[in-house]
């Protein structure tokens, strides 16, 4: 379970998160919606441990373990996975090599045996097939020359391989056509299990037609101002964020 209490954070001295309280029980998928500039991406970066995002107060724990004191790689080993809004291109780094290095780093962190090249390839091929991705993807540089949709699918492929206990999807739907959106949603839904939880950050309700959340939270100006069921997303789609603001 992810538990966030009174979390405040700033970027370049400017307060962005102004007291977030949030619980995502194991096995649940929660959505965070909100207008641009509300702090959605900041929340995801703070949880993943990006430099430059300074926590000024509060706490965040995953299954009782404090996340905020850890290095990014330690958080990943503890089960946190951030699917990036803008996946980074790594020219000169082969995707297969990258995926295997990451997978083995996580396995090492969990005390599991590392996979050799053949064992890895077998796993990777199975996940590629599920995500309807070409094996060529393994041979290319990480995200180099990938279309927007391919980059997002590569994020989901990584998630499927690394099997996190908490996935944070930061606007994974942006730049996806409807077919790619379904594939990505299927990839997330396939991971649903009693020991898996997800935080789906999105601006639009569309993704939530395919990944149906247990709860929807509305983030505005650094605070969660409303929480409801999946119907809240549809309500926002119909009446916009201004109505929430008025209500809050």
């Amino acid at each position: 379970m992810l538990r966030i209490e009174g979390l405040t954070a700033e970027v370049d001295g400017k307060p962005i998160l102004k007291g977030i309280d949030l619980e995502v029980p194991a096995g649940e998928v929660h959505a965070i919606m909100g207008p641009n500039g509300s702090g959605k991406s900041t929340l995801s970066y703070v949880l993943a441990g990006r430099e430059g995002y300074e926590v000024t107060g509060g706490s965040a724990t995953l299954d009782g373990v404090d996340l905020l004191g850890m290095e990014p790689e330690e958080r990943a080993a503890a089960g946190v996975f951030l699917a990036f809004q803008y996946p980074v291109e790594l020219p000169g780094v082969g995707n297969a090599n990258f995926l295997r290095t990451a997978l083995n780093a996580i396995r090492r962190g969990k005390g599991e045996a590392e996979l050799d090249a053949m064992q890895f390839l077998k796993q990777a091929r199975a996940r590629l097939k599920e995500l309807q991705m070409s094996e060529d993807m393994l041979k290319r540089g990480v995200n180099v020359g990938f279309s927007g949709g391919e980059k997002k699918r590569n994020e989901v492929l990584q998630m499927a391989l690394l099997r996190p206990s908490l996935a944070i999807l930061d606007e994974t739907d942006s730049g996806l056509d409807i077919d790619a959106l379904k594939i990505v949603a299927d990839g997330v839904n396939a991971l649903r299990a009693p020991d898996f939880s997800a935080l789906v950050i999105t601006h639009y309700q569309r993704l939530l037609d395919y990944i149906v959340p247990d709860k929807v939270h509305v983030l505005m100006q650094g605070r969660i101002v409303q929480t409801g069921g999946p119907e809240l997303a549809k309500q926002l789609e119909a009446s916009g964020y201004a109505s929430v603001q008025a209500a809050a």
């Binding site: 993943a48 996946p87 980074v88 780094v93 990258f98 290095t101 690394l162």
Partner: protein, 430 residues
Amino acid sequence: MNTVVHSGAEGFLHRFEGLRARLPGQRLAWVQALREAAAAQFRAAGFPTRRVEAWKYTDLRPVSDAAFDEALTILGDGDTLPAPRGERRAVFVDGRFREELSQIEGAGFAVGSLAEELPRLEGRLGALARPAEEPLVALNTMLFEDGLVVTVPAGVAGGVLELRSLASRSERPSAFHPRHLIRLEAGASLTIVEEASGPEDTRYLHNPVFEIDLAEGAVLTHARIQREGVKGFQLGTVYARIESGATYDNFTLNAGARLVRNEIHAVLAGPKSACHMNGAQLLRGGQHADTTTVLDHAAPDCASRQTYKTVLQGKSRGVFQGKIHVHQVAQRTDGYQMNQALLLSPDAEIDSKPQLEIYADDVKCSHGATVGALDADQLFYLRARGIPEAKARSILVEAFLQEAIEGVTDETARAALESAVAGWWEKEAA
């Protein structure tokens, strides 16, 4: 017995006076004339100082202030040669050919020691080298004792030849000045994998000069791995003349030495010839590495590619100077030059000086230079996937170098370079 130890140019001139009668070729008038002329040039020029434009960024005082003895040519106890990379190799210890360590039989082409071949090298030795312009080449000409002589006959595919240079352990700094002559006749091909190393606790100077001539359609791959000992100096000069349709493919990895200068003078002398000069410099501590290239496009329809990458740690210093001279006759020249540096420490420094002189009007010639640190976004992406910071950094540095190394098409050469880079990293991580 003279026990006065002279340093600098004077020391070498003094040594020439003492050795003159014993140097190879002392009975050949043409060799004598070459040496005497070179001695006069070196006496006049001395070691270049930073006041000389071509040496603005490299201070040779650590070399010129030192006194060097004649090499004693003794391999230290426990020095063993690693397994050969190909079927044939020529081994030089302190600049002298060592037949008992070499394997050059059945090469299918002529390969041997310059000291032995000297009587048959009139007109060839010194045909490309320019001691009047380059004082270190004058020094080499004055004092060379041996070297490799290779002649691949027309149409022969020579395969892989390893050129191994070792420096022996010594209490007194030694200096050696091998002269290597490589000739590929029309349509011949050869891959030379050259590796120079030495003990970590010995100060020495390795001052090699290559004269390489490639006849029509010949292809030479020249992979150079420089991992001299940390107290060693390497001041090397390569001259290459590339005739029509021929290709010279040079890759130089600088991963050792206290101070290294890798100077290449290449002339695209015939139409449709090509020259690739790529390299990587991996520097740490107080190392100084200087790559200086001078490329003459002296014929039409030629192509040249240069990609140099430098990774700097500690207080190391890197230099890249690249001059491309496109002669008036060299229409439809296709030239490209890129040098990039990755600064991993705030105390490291890179100096970069590209220089294009273009006298033809139908020319495609581009160059660029970048200097930067590791990309924070890339680093975070790797770490967010569970990859520890040190490993993430090494992945990004290797990726940075990859672009230069992947241009090496010969598999033996590329594998040798990749393992040398990996070896550098292992040392770095230790």
